[in-house]
């Protein structure tokens, strides 16, 4: 029981970690939270479904295509809701991304919602569980876990080793200084929104074979990814991964030992608790408030 719960917790946790990673990438660079992040996740999942199920594109090809679509949608979000409002206040920024979230949700409901509200994605591995030692494992979970780790490694390599990744780091660190050394920060913001959404898209495509797709799923994943990001400190990339895994495990244990309805609510309780008790999260650092 415990080992099974832990494994499923780690699997969903890895997905939350990816969603959280996207939130943190955007927040590090721009200082805002993209409230449409969950909807970008959902929308990319549906795009992958259309490519794979409706058009018959092979899964290994559907995944990068959906990730590319996610990147484009993220960059579009930046152009519509962030770049024009860069001098506006936080309220306007947040409400604009909320508006985008609802547009995406409505489009998804019209395009994909009429086909039975829940779309299933065919599994990419055999659905038969296998035994590893004493633990019963569904191969799909291992595929998800492996995929999530791969995405994280790819992102880490991009962020640390490439020129674009280093420019993102510089902008996150100090956007004025980055401008001074010739980095076009507005482009980096677009890149960050795009990268964040691309990671979310990868998470959605990995997750799709494990569960069902439905237009309202985005918000649930956004809130959980955000809980993970907050737990990790909101500006820390390793913190996002750690937070995601923790939320996944907390959920699985709460669902297994208390009641299944607690799966939905544990993330909210974690958010409220962390924000009140330790707003800097596990790996965040406190910063003095500027006056």
């Amino acid at each position: 029981m415990l080992s099974y719960l832990l494994l499923s917790g780690v699997t969903t946790g890895a997905l939350y970690a990816l969603v959280a990673l996207g939130i943190v990438v955007v927040n590090k660079a721009t200082g805002v939270i993209n409230f449409a992040h969950g909807e970008l996740f959902m929308f990319s999942g549906f795009i992958a479904w259309s490519l794979h199920v409706q058009m018959g594109v092979a899964y290994p090809l559907a995944l990068p295509l959906a990730v590319a679509a996610g990147f484009a949608l993220g960059a579009l979000t930046d152009r519509i809701a962030f770049r024009p409002l860069i001098k506006a206040d936080v309220i306007s920024l947040v409400l604009a991304t909320v508006g985008i979230a609802f547009v995406l949700r409505g489009v998804a409901r019209i395009v994909w919602g009429g086909k039975g509200d829940y779309l299933s994605f065919p599994p990419i591995t055999s659905p038969e569980p296998i035994m590893i030692g004493q633990i019963m494992v569904i191969p799909q979970q291992l595929a998800v876990l492996g995929g999530a780790i791969l995405v994280m490694l790819l992102f880490a390599a991009f962020f640390r080793l490439t020129r674009a990744g280093k420019m993102m780091q510089a902008t996150a660190d100090n956007s004025k200084a980055a401008t001074l050394v010739g980095i076009q920060t507005a482009r980096i913001y677009t890149l960050s929104f795009g990268t964040g959404a691309a990671i979310a898209a990868a998470a959605a495509v990995l997750m799709a074979p494990l569960t069902l797709l439905y237009p309202d799923m985005g918000f649930a994943f956004f809130i959980k990814g955000f809980a993970a990001a907050v737990l990790g400190g909101l500006t820390s990339l390793p913190g996002a991964v750690l937070g995601g895994l923790s939320i996944g495990i907390i959920e699985a244990l709460a669902g297994g030992y208390i009641h299944s309805s607690f799966i939905e609510v544990s993330a909210f309780i974690v958010i409220m608790f962390v924000l009140v008790v330790r707003p800097t999260g596990l790996l965040g650092f406190s910063r003095l408030r500027r006056v």
Partner: protein, 337 residues
Amino acid sequence: MNLFGRRNVLLALFALAAIAPHFVNTYHLFVCNLILVYVLLSIGLNILVGYAGQLAFANAAMFGIGAYGTGLLQVHFGLPFWLAFPLGAVIATSVGLAISLPALRVSGLYLALSSLAFAQFTQWVFLHWEKVTFGAGGFKTPTVSFAPLPVSKPIGLYYLTLILAAVLFLLAQNLVRSRIGRAFVAVRDGEVAAESLGIDLLRYKALAFGLSGFYAGIAGGIYSAMLNFVSPEGYDLFQMVLQKAMVVVGGLGSVAGSVLGAGAIVALLEALREVKGIQEIAFGAILVVFILFMPGGLVGFLKRKVPGWEEPLHRKGAGSAPAPAAAPAPAAGEARP
């Protein structure tokens, strides 16, 4: 006094609303009543978001708490509506006050998200505390009777809402021009500066949250009586976006704007009744378009074009009022708690 100034237009709207029941059918009366309910909601939300600058997403939850409070007190304890209704508003007010406590520790984005988490938590309680809230199916509330008065329920309820909306509109209008309203605006434009002027952040934030909870609670009680039915999905995220759209369309930081925004959005909502997806696209797009191209809302437009709509303490960049010092740019780290 200008002929088309704010006071004349609002008085005309009020007079129109007062005689409306004699001319419209049952459905239109329901829509008019709905507009009044949303006027209450958006005034409350505007005090919190537009004046006090607290970006909270819990208003739909407090609306729900008002509705559930009023309904459940009648169903479980057999209280009459006239007692359950004010008690429901009191419960919503106290919840509003309670969630202002975390608001003191967190601000900006963190407040938005923690209140969003709170709203989802409330939804979860409505759905899963089945012994008390009757779960996802909702429950029926007793029909309100206006016994000694010779009016039917829809008309009686309509006038009750109209009177409450008018009184609470005037209250809000006077409040935001008072010392309290100026304190709200000072908190919005700079918390540290406000504190250094001797404004007690705790008191004024709690007051703003409590007020918005009160308005939402009143609206919720009336809404439950209008429908004779309470269920969780009426108080979800979509509800929240509707209310945010009203405040933005009307004009952040304008009580009169809340009235216009509520009217415009409810009319559009009823016109788009058929398809949920279209509604979501429409309201999402309206939110984005107004924020990008008309940040002052309808009121901002009126203020530029029509004399007699000037309002002190309006949000910056929206017409006649000189812009206060620019709010800090949303740079990284600015929203730290």
